[in-house]
């Protein structure tokens, strides 16, 4: 039997290969570390884990919205990071009308943003993110709003989550600002009518967060529906709604009294859904409309005649 004697050169070569194998193994395979004292040893590596954003809850301050009054909405969520709450370095939020989506400019009508929300109440691996949004009174109401909270950890890993506002919608605010002017009609003769002119008008401005329509009605001092203007002294009151007498209104200037719409004791809508709540980026007022008023004076009327005209606003369509 022939014994094979490995030459020393081959042995040396095998030794070199073994050394290289150990080196490559130490590079490719994960390094084991041992932690723990006095108990069972645990082997693991510490790596950065991404934060997560919990359920997002949103609401607005109690008692709002109010007429032409800005308010605050807020969203908060609990952020969890297994590397500890101190690894969460920032959070920011966007509050937007749900149907309009998160992307886009913060325009005060349908979208707000907060680039530096508060991180508070940190403990163990959780911290609260509180985002507040200074809301304008005319931000779209009666619709769903959603809050999106985004967070970032120390290595710039980002996470986010969304939730709708409590009660599912931002409360609708129906609100108007009514202004009427002082006018001089000059000499009036019984049996004549005035025209719709720029000297006799009311302006209604939408100061809410939904579109509105306007209904008008003649009432007395106690707010009861009333079919006539009370004239003092008598002998006769000025009947409303007649073919030759009464108060009429128009949305246009220049027409004759006879072309206007009759004012009566019934609630009548002035026009369709005609006043938008939204406002331009530059602060201003919501949409406003002017209504012109004219009067027909019948024969047999004398004295000082008065009536109250209620302008009721009610919610119109949603933008």
């Amino acid at each position: 039997m022939k014994h094979i004697k490995l030459p020393i050169d081959v042995v040396f070569g095998i030794f070199v290969l073994l050394t290289l194998s150990v080196f490559m193994a130490s590079v490719i395979l994960p390094v084991s570390t041992q932690a723990g004292v006095g108990g069972a040893a645990m082997n693991f590596s510490v790596i950065n884990t991404a934060p997560t954003v919990g359920t997002v809850t949103c609401d607005h301050t109690v008692g709002s919205p109010s007429e032409a009054t800005n308010f605050v909405a807020w969203c908060y969520a609990v952020i969890t990071d297994l590397n500890g709450y101190q690894d969460v370095v920032a959070c920011n939020g966007t509050f937007f009308r749900t149907s309009s989506g998160k992307a886009g400019t913060a325009d005060d009508n349908i979208r707000y943003s907060n680039a530096s929300c508060q991180l508070i109440g940190g403990s163990s691996n959780t911290v609260n993110c509180n985002c507040s949004f200074g809301m304008k009174y005319f931000a779209d109401g009666g619709v769903s709003w959603t809050g999106n909270i985004s967070t970032r950890d120390g290595t710039a890993v980002v996470a986010h989550n969304e939730g709708v506002i409590a009660g599912a919608t931002l409360d609708a605010l129906i609100s108007i600002d009514l202004t009427s002017n002082k006018s001089q009609w000059g000499t009036l003769v019984v049996g004549t009518n005035t025209t719709f002119n720029t000297g006799n008008f009311t302006v209604v401005n939408n100061t809410g967060n939904v579109n509105v329509t306007i209904k008008v009605q003649a009432v007395d001092q106690l707010g009861q529906a009333c079919d006539y203007m009370i004239c003092i002294p008598s002998p006769a009151n000025l009947t409303l709604g007649g073919t030759e007498s009464g108060i009429r209104y128009s949305l246009a200037v220049g027409g004759a009294w006879s072309t206007g719409t009759v004012l009566t004791s019934s609630l009548v809508e002035i026009a369709g859904d005609w006043m938008d709540n939204r406002q331009a980026a530059t602060p201003g007022k919501g949409e406003n409309r002017s209504t012109y008023w004219a009067i027909g004076v019948p024969l047999g009327v004398n004295g000082t005649c008065t009536v109250i005209v209620n302008n009721f606003a009610l919610g119109g369509s949603i933008n």
């Binding site: 050169d9 932690a35 590596s45």
Partner: protein, 410 residues
């Protein structure tokens, strides 16, 4: 006749549209809507009426529409005064008659502004324009009873020995029938184990669409001073655990709170010392003469999330004046890589705060491979040098001879 006509003309000169200041009014929400109401049922909603104008307003609030007899208001006054630049709440109450059929119904809340009785009306004639609001009401009556409630908040305050501990609870009825929540409160010791002390409570009836805040008092007779937990549960599965303390008589005026525990660094290497800081405030009525940060260190198993205590820490003592906030500190040096939970609390004048914690990440030391590279390099050079040398006979390179020998053996 001519004189009569002239007289009539002169009088009508006074027939003017009078100027008024801008008059503003708003109401929210703009629509009241209730689904799944039942015959004989109840619902309510608060309206907020507001004005940003400069005048006080006198409001008249009335119901309208087909269901106006179902609607009432609180306050019940015929007129409501709304001061300038203010908001006021008006409660709209809806009582569904027992005879109501299933279906959809509509109504209105009509809010009109009355002419102020104090305004100067002498010489005023013509039309006076006032703003008003109409809130739509939409009701759906079904035969389906829905029962449910939400616990909106639960809180508990520290108490002194032999005095009851008070739980303040706010519950909202989310259904369409009257409910009586059944609550159970169990007391746990500082290690969160039940001590056999509990109370059951079901004494509050809550109308649909309304919330109620109430207090449950639980006797503490026989309980020692110290830290406790309370587990509040309901028959609908709500559960919340709260911390409170039973203090020695007369010490309630001594009160401090731990806001948070944090580290100056959260990513470190082994043998790198970290500073543990705690923000502690004196919220009571007495000077705190000793406050000290103490705590425990746990190593976290990343697979199972379990913790194992490996040590404790303690800082120096400080005084804390009334109303002041201080930072207490201690130090910790981890010896091995891993993720640690640093759990701290403050001992002050014989009392103890709740525990707050943070996480420390200790990275492994990076391995220095320079020596390895050097060694490998030397070995490779030596091998190459050896193999490329000539054999003893001077005619063949060594690597050729080795290969030749191998082939001849094979």
């Amino acid at each position: 006749m001519k004189n009569n006509k002239t007289l009539a003309v002169i009088s009508l000169l006074g027939l003017l549209l009078m100027a008024t200041n801008a008059s503003a009014i708003g109401v929210s929400p703009g629509v009241i809507s209730f689904n799944k109401l039942v015959r004989g049922g109840y619902a309510e909603k608060a309206l907020t009426v507001s004005t940003a104008g400069g005048d006080d307003l006198t409001l008249k609030v009335e119901a309208g529409g087909a269901v106006k007899d179902w609607i009432s208001f609180e306050p019940t006054d015929a007129q409501v005064i709304l001061p300038k630049k203010s908001a006021k709440s008006i409660l709209v109450k809806i009582n569904i008659p027992n005879t109501a059929r299933n279906g959809q119904y509509e109504g209105e809340v009509i809010i009109s502004t009355l002419v102020s009785q104090s305004s100067d009306t002498s010489g005023v004639s013509g039309a006076r324009f006032m703003p008003g609001l109409i809130v739509r009401i939409e009701l759906t009556v079904t035969g389906e009873e829905v029962s449910g409630y939400d616990i909106k908040s639960v809180s508990v305050k520290d108490t002194e020995q032999n005095y009851p501990v008070e739980f303040n609870i706010n519950v909202e009825n989310t259904g369409n029938v009257v409910i009586t929540p059944k609550l159970h409160i169990a007391i746990l010791n500082s290690e969160r184990k039940e001590i056999g002390k509990s109370i059951d409570y079901s004494e509050i009836a809550i109308l649909p669409t309304t919330s109620k805040q109430f207090t449950i008092k639980m006797p503490t007779k026989g309980m020692d001073t110290g830290a406790y937990y309370s587990k509040v549960t309901s028959d609908l599965g709500h559960e919340q655990t709260l911390f409170f303390q039973i203090l020695a008589p007369g010490t309630l005026a001594l009160r401090g709170s731990l806001e948070q525990v944090l580290l100056n660094k959260i990513w470190v290497k082994p043998a790198e010392t970290v500073k543990v800081e705690a923000t502690f405030s004196n919220d009571g009525e007495l000077f705190i003469d000793t406050a000290k940060l103490k705590g425990e260190i746990y190593v976290i198993d990343p697979t199972y999330g379990t913790k194992e205590m490996i040590g404790v820490f303690e800082g120096d003592s400080m005084t804390v004046p009334l109303g002041e906030k201080v930072t207490l500190s201690a130090y910790f040096t981890p010896s091995k890589p891993g993720r640690y939970s640093i759990e701290g609390y403050v001992m002050y004048s014989g009392k103890r705060t709740d525990v707050k914690s943070t996480v420390l990440n200790v990275l492994e030391e990076p391995v220095n491979y320079t020596l390895y590279y050097l060694l490998i390099g030397v070995v490779v050079i030596l091998v190459v040098f050896y193999l490329t040398r000539m054999t003893e006979d001077g005619r063949t390179r060594r690597f050729k001879k080795i290969w030749g020998d191998y082939l001849s053996i094979k």
